[in-house]
Amino acid sequence: MKRSTAGAGLLPALLFASVLSGAPTAAAPPLAFPADHGSHPSAAIEWWYYTGNLSDAAGRPFGFQLTFFRVGDFALAHAAWTDGSRRTFEFQEKAHLVLPGIAEFAEGRLEVMNEDWSASAKGSVHRLRLRWENRAVDLVLTAAKPPVLQGEKGLSRKGPGENEYSHYVSIPRLAAAGTLVEEGRRSPLTGTAWFDHEWGPGALPAGAAGWDWFALQFDDGSELMLYRIRTKDGAATPFSSGVFVPPAGDPVPLRSNDVRFRATGQWRSPRSGGVYPAGWEIALPRLSLSVRVDPLVADQELVTGRSTGVTYWEGACRVSGQRGGKTLTGRGYAELTGYSGRDVPGFNSR
């Protein structure tokens, strides 16, 4: 029995994927866009993932997350909204069979929807639609950088096993503009967003307990993505990795031993009782970069009983530090899984 799964982006969805007997990784054709932004039905699991830090005309900060999962015949979706000035966080989830008009994933182009949430792309322009009971967010995201193929030409290894990999593509910076309608008031939004798309068999290496994932966007035009797959004793496995995208020029792949992590605080969830790290110091001596990452709001935990059944923390962060002696600021998103003790709720017992 294989232990389900891992992904740099999101463990939760992977947790209940049935393992597809391995499409041989070596034979994978090179990725092409926009076709590979579309759905890959032969992969057991797949997801499209947007996060971003936004602000309205008054400069009030917001964070958003919108994720569409496809797991076999099922379509799941999570969305979260962080209001930095009110210090509030809300999330919602959806779950369906993949069915026309209800939850769909187009092939050959980026066009996904689940009920009244949707994401689509034409060229470098992505449109997101997010509806809550009392809030509507419509965003136009314009890619500022080309897609980054994570891992080996987009093949990201999570472990030594045959199925412990995913196809992983990111767009590290999209300029966001749109509107927020909240309680009848309409305000313009601007900001920066991040896009991830992963698909694959979805197996996580044995012994993995969870992961920490960061997508940081610096004001100098560079981005940093890092993930650590943790073992039960908290150590990172060798398959932890990342990428640094300079303002111009080719991305720099990072290995696990390039990065030093230190948690600077703790937050205990009143809902799940999970104890999460809150704030980090991350140092990459190779890039002479060191930054502090602090959550915009402490509580950005999602308890997704109705869809994935996983509890995780995914939240907007503020970044400050320096690179090569120069002050560096930025914003980003962090994802922390495997802390609540509830994120592996027995799906593997089958």
């Binding site: 209940f16 076999g72 779950a95 069979l97 069915l99 026309p100 209800i102 009244d116 009983g305």
Partner: protein
């Protein structure tokens, strides 16, 4: 207060204590009526409520439902996505699974988007405990059951569950247990819920849902959304109100239930007559007491009030007894009715006993009301008793005699109205006027009864003198003397017996018609359908490949596929069928209404792409050959010419038949409902059946009948359908005979003085007894005579008006004289027997004591 107490004691409690038996009959009358009403109302209500709940457990909270002629293609739901801004929607696949655990029960199989269905349907997973497991367990062959269903069938999460669905045996697994909430609770008990995709696969409905249920958020303009949806969705789909399926299920059995209600009302009517009779007698009997009370100054109001109090007391006692009896009677009625409905109309119908509160309340109100109503007239009469204790006997009768002529005129008028009503067409598809005519005949009967009694008494007084001597005219005199009382007894018995005789004729006629029809129509040797468990009808369908399979079995000469599915026109359900018209063109066997040649008609229909319609359809929808029928197809409504109307007694909703080729082309629905198999010359059908069963093992789950079995089955179902009817009639007749006994017994008590006098002037005990028996016999004879006349009218109305209007069947008259004569003789005998005890009582009167009473 003291005066009232004394009056009550003098009039009510005193006599009651002295003759407690006198109270038994009115109380029993109320009790029987109340029990019958409660039971029938409860059964009917339970049927409606069960349908509503069954529909609600599928429709959930939906505001409306989208369906289509062959379901809703899933692709069509793209047009629905705008609904997410105002609410949500959820597709469902429905079908039937027949359990293979020895119970043979058929259950509704419901396939839904388990992960996302919560907004529409009300259930929660109770085992395994956490809800997210639903996702893990969805798909595969997992099904979800209510706790009650699982318990009933000995299933637990993880248990395998063998069912036949879509004509194939499937081994499913119990994935978990569900708890239904809200209105779905009772009916949800019998649902087998599974993943939409699993249900599609099992039922052979790939790519389609049977319905899409739409739930809108509060405050959303439903009409506007409905219009928007109608304009966006593909042609051929239709939007229905959510209670439509309950309504249409209910409508399907409406004729059946109406039948029950009519018979129930009959029992009630007989009961009310009985109460009126009993109360009236008990009032008349106390005339001396009343006179004395009035002589000492009791007011008319006081007398009236006291009798009303007594009526209320009788009503309360009878109602309480009746309610108690009703609980048991209701259980029996429900079992019988539920069985019939499951057998004939809806194989998965599980008629659960609903709340008894409302039927009990209704029956109580009717019982009390009837008791009071029955008291009012006699009580009013009591107030007219003159205060002289030496009041002339018979003056009450004199008052009544004066009303004979107006009553007779009213009776004739009622008959005229009944005749007029019998010509009126159905109203809202229902023969209300036919039933109104039945009611009018009953009215004419009750109005005319005293006259019949009088005429019969006069004639009998003359005719019976020679053969019977003194007891003849004496009995005739008794009979004619108690006009009012005997009029009621005669009416009650004539009504009950008349309806019974009419039903005997009707049922016999329909049965004979059906028997002849089955003989002509059933020409194939074997009849194959999906295994149906204990249900007699077609339960589920078969994949198309079963045709090739059957054709390949050695000994099979030809296979003739038949397809039937539910359709609706203008919201009224009918059956859309398809068959191979070439087979009809070759072997005939379809009896056409106008006597047209079946071969030519079928051939022409096939060539011209025309439809053949059944007689009930033609009647219900007013369509005739040469006209066109409009059918909802996946590409919108399409009209077809009607080539012929054929007789069909298998279905009262009406059927439209298309040639299979045309049907496939229009609907693309390739599944078959049943297959007729012709054996090759010289092949024994029984042997062929064994060969097919052997070949099908492991591949199809089939139920195969031989021609003869099927014929027998048709008649067996038929007889079962009418079993309830017969039970109700028996009750009505028994109640009516009880009424006669009551009337005679009352006479025996009341006429003590008369009997005493008769004995004093020389009548022997035998002569007295004989006279009472003569009176009993006359009551029976007049009632039977009236019943025969009424039965002729009832039978005409049932066969020529009500039946064609409600079932749409032409029935040829078949009068089972022996049965009718037997029934009439039985009733006549019973009514004479009813005179035995009163006769003995009368004969035992001691003349001196009786005369001394004055």
């Amino acid at each position: 207060m003291t005066a009232l107490r004394l009056v009550v004691r003098a009039l009510v409690t005193g006599p009651a204590r002295r003759h407690p038996l006198r109270l038994v009959l009115p109380v029993a009358g109320v009790a029987i009526g109340v029990a019958a009403i409660a039971a029938i109302h409860h059964a009917n209500r339970s049927v409606t409520e069960s349908f509503r709940q069954a529909a609600a457990s599928v429709a959930g909270r939906s505001d409306f439902t989208v369906t289509g002629p062959v379901g809703v293609p899933l692709e069509a739901m793209r047009a629905f996505s705008f609904l997410w801004d105002v609410g949500s929607f959820a597709p469902a696949v429905t079908g039937i699974a027949v359990l293979q655990d020895g119970s043979g029960e058929a259950a509704d199989l419901l396939g839904v988007d388990l992960a996302g269905d919560g907004a529409v349907r009300s259930w929660e997973l109770v085992a395994p405990a956490d809800r997210s497991s639903l996702l893990r367990l969805a798909g595969g062959d997992n099904v979800f059951l209510s706790e009650g269903f699982a318990r009933r069938h000995g299933l637990r999460p993880g248990s395998p569950m063998r069912v036949v669905a879509g004509g194939v045996l499937h081994t499913l697994h119990v994935g978990g247990l569900l708890r239904f909430s809200g209105v779905a609770r009772a009916a949800g008990e019998d649902l087998v819920v599974t993943d939409l995709l699993t249900a599609q696969r099992i039922l052979g409905k790939i790519g389609r849902a049977d319905r899409v249920d739409v739930v809108l958020r509060p405050g959303v303009d439903r009409a506007k959304v409905r219009r928007a949806l109608a304009s966006r969705m593909p042609a051929g789909l239709r939007i229905e109100a959510p209670d439509r399926s309950a309504a249409s299920a209910d409508r399907m059995v409406r004729a059946f239930r109406f039948n029950l209600n009519a018979l129930g009302s009959l029992t009630l009517l007989v009961g009310v007559f009985l109460i009126a009779n009993a109360v009236s007698i008990s009032v008349l009997r106390r005339r001396p007491e009343i006179a004395t009370l009035k002589a000492v100054g009791a007011s008319r109001g006081l007398i009236f009030a006291v009798f009303l109090i007594e009526g209320a007391a009788i009503g309360v006692a009878g109602t309480l007894l009746g309610e108690a009896g009703g609980v048991f009677l209701a259980r029996a009625a429900l079992r019988a009715i539920g069985g019939t409905i499951a057998n004939i109309y809806l194989p998965t119908a599980r008629i659960a006993g609903g709340s008894f509160a409302s039927p009990a309340l209704l029956a109580g109100v009717v019982g009390l009301g009837a008791a009071l109503l029955a008291t009012v007239i006699p009580a009013a009469e009591a107030t007219r008793v003159p205060p002289s204790p030496a009041m002339r006997a018979g003056s009450v009768e004199a008052v009544r005699r004066a009303r004979l002529v107006p009553r007779a005129l009213a009776s004739v008028a009622a008959l005229g109205l009944a005749a007029a009503a019998s010509f009126l067409p159905p109203f809202d598809g229902f023969p209300f006027f036919g039933f109104a005519a039945v009611g009018l005949i009953v009215a004419a009967l009750s109005l005319g009864a005293p006259l019949f009694v009088l005429v019969a008494a006069r004639a009998a007084g003359r005719l019976l003198r020679a053969p019977l001597g003194a007891p003849g005219p004496l009995g005739a005199g008794f009979f004619g003397g108690a006009l009012a009382r005997n009029g009621i007894a005669v009416t009650a018995l004539a009504m009950a017996l008349g309806m019974t005789l009419a039903m005997i004729v009707t049922v016999a006629s329909i049965r004979e018609t059906v028997r002849v029809w089955v003989e002509t129509t059933l020409r194939s040797d074997l009849w194959v359908k999906a295994a149906a468990g204990k249900s007699s009808g077609i339960v589920g369908d078969l994949p198309e490949d079963v045709l090739a399979f059957l054709a390949a079995v050695p000994g099979v000469a030809a296979v003739d596929p038949f397809r039937a599915r539910d359709a609706a026109f203008d919201g009224r359900p009918y059956t859309l069928g398809s068959g191979d018209f070439r087979v009809v063109a070759r072997i005939g066997g379809l009896p056409f209404l106008n006597g047209a040649d079946p071969r030519q008609t079928a051939e022409r229909a096939r060539r011209e792409g025309a439809a053949l319609i059944s007689e009930p359809f033609a009647r219900r929808f007013g369509v005739s050959p040469g006209k066109r029928v409009t059918i909802d197809t996946p590409r919108g409504p399409r009209s077809f010419a009607v080539a012929g109307v054929y007789r069909d007694y298998s279905n009262d909703r009406g059927t439209v038949m298309l040639d299979r080729e045309l049907y496939l082309q229009v609907f693309g629905d390739r599944r078959v409902s049943s297959v007729a198999v012709l054996a090759a010359p010289g092949v024994d059908p029984a042997a062929l059946r064994r060969a097919i069963a052997t070949a099908a093992r492991g591949r199809y789950a089939l139920s195969i009948s031989t021609n003869r079995e099927l014929r027998r089955e048709v008649l067996r179902i038929f007889d079962r359908t009418f079993a309830v009817t017969r039970g109700l009639e028996a009750i009505a007749v028994a109640v009516a005979i009880l009424g006669i006994a009551n009337a005679l017994l009352a006479s025996a008590v009341e006429r003590r003085r008369t009997f005493g006098l008769l004995r004093a002037i020389g009548a022997s005990r035998e002569q007295i007894r004989g006279a009472v028996l003569v009176e009993a016999a006359l009551t029976g004879i007049v009632a039977t005579g009236a019943a025969v006349a009424a039965a002729a009218a009832f039978a005409y109305l049932l066969l020529a008006v009500i039946n064609p209007q409600s079932f749409g069947w032409t029935v040829s008259l078949d009068v089972p004289l022996t049965t009718l004569a037997g029934a009439a003789a039985l009733v006549l005998g019973a009514s004479i027997l009813a005179g035995v005890f009163p006769g003995r009582l009368a004969a035992a009167v001691d003349p001196a004591a009786a005369l001394a009473e004055e």
